[in-house]
Amino acid sequence: MAWKSVYWDEVKEGNELPAQKREITRTTVIATAIATRDFTPVHHDHEAARKSGANDIFLNILTTGGFIGKYMTDWSGPEGQLKRMVIRLGATCYPGDTLTSNGKVVKKYTEGANHLVDIDYNLTVAMGPHAWGTVTMILPTKS
C-alpha cells in the first residue's frame, strides 16, 4: 500500500485538516482503557463511575492523547512526526457520544533542521469541547 505524505512545502497557514468522527461505545471506553493500561475503575466499572459523580464510565486521558496522535498522523501520513502535544481537558466523553476532531494549521516555521507546523485542534462531544490545544509536527520536505 502506498502512503501519502503531506509535505511542509505544500502546507499553508490556515489549511484545515479533514474532520474525523468516532462513535464512542462502552467497548471503546473499556478497550482503550485496557490498551493504555489504565485500570482506574471509573473507566470500566459503571457503579464506581456513578459513585465518583460521573453519569457513566468515561474515556481516559491517555486515550484522548492516542486519538489526537492518530488524527494528526492520519492527516500527515506516516512521515509526519509528533513533536509536541498540549492537551487541555474539558467535557467528559461518555459512551453514546460522537467524538468529532477538527484541526487547522496555524503556524509554519523551521527550527534548526526541522520543518514544523503548529496545528490547533479540538475534539468535541455534545456537551462541548472534550479536549483542545496545539500539536507541533515535523513534516517531510520535497527537496
Partner: protein
Amino acid sequence: MSQGVYEKLQAMVGEEAGPFESPNEVNMAMIRHWCEAMEDGNPLYNDEKYAKNTRYGGIIAPSQMVQAYCMPPLWPKKVMPDPQAKAVRMMDEAGYSGVVATTTSQEYFRPMRLGDRLSYKIKFVSVSPEKTTRLGTGHFLTSEYTYTNQKGEVVCLQSFTILKFKPTV
C-alpha cells in the same frame, strides 16, 4: 486550614521520585492492542516491511504510548513514592476532595523501538495560590515526568496539571 496546606505544598516543590522501570519492554503485542483500540493504521506501528525502509529501520511505538508502558501493574500492587500522590492525599485531608485533570503536555525527543526498556522519574514542580473556579475553590498542582530509554536518552518530557478543589455544593 487552607493556608497551612498551601505552605506545606509549596515546601514540597522540587520533590522527586524514581526512576521506575516499565514492567514491559516496547513490544509488538502492546502496540497492536493500542492501535486496535485507537483504530490507528499508521504502518510505522504495524508493518515491518514498510517500517524497515524508513529512517527508523523498523517498527516503532506511537509516541503517545510512552505513558502506557510506565503504568503501574494491576498485580502485584506497587505503591510508588510519588510526590504528586502525596500532595493529593494532603489536600484530601484538608477537605479538597474534588479532583479534575486540566492540562497535560508531552514533548517527544526519540522514537521507541521494539525492545527498548523505558523508565520514568516524577517531579512535583508547582502549586498555584488558591483559585476559585466554577467547580469550587482549590489549587492547581503540576508534576513533570521524564521518560528515558535503556541508554539513558530522554524519550519524552510530560507535564500534568490537576485541580484539587472543595466542591461547590
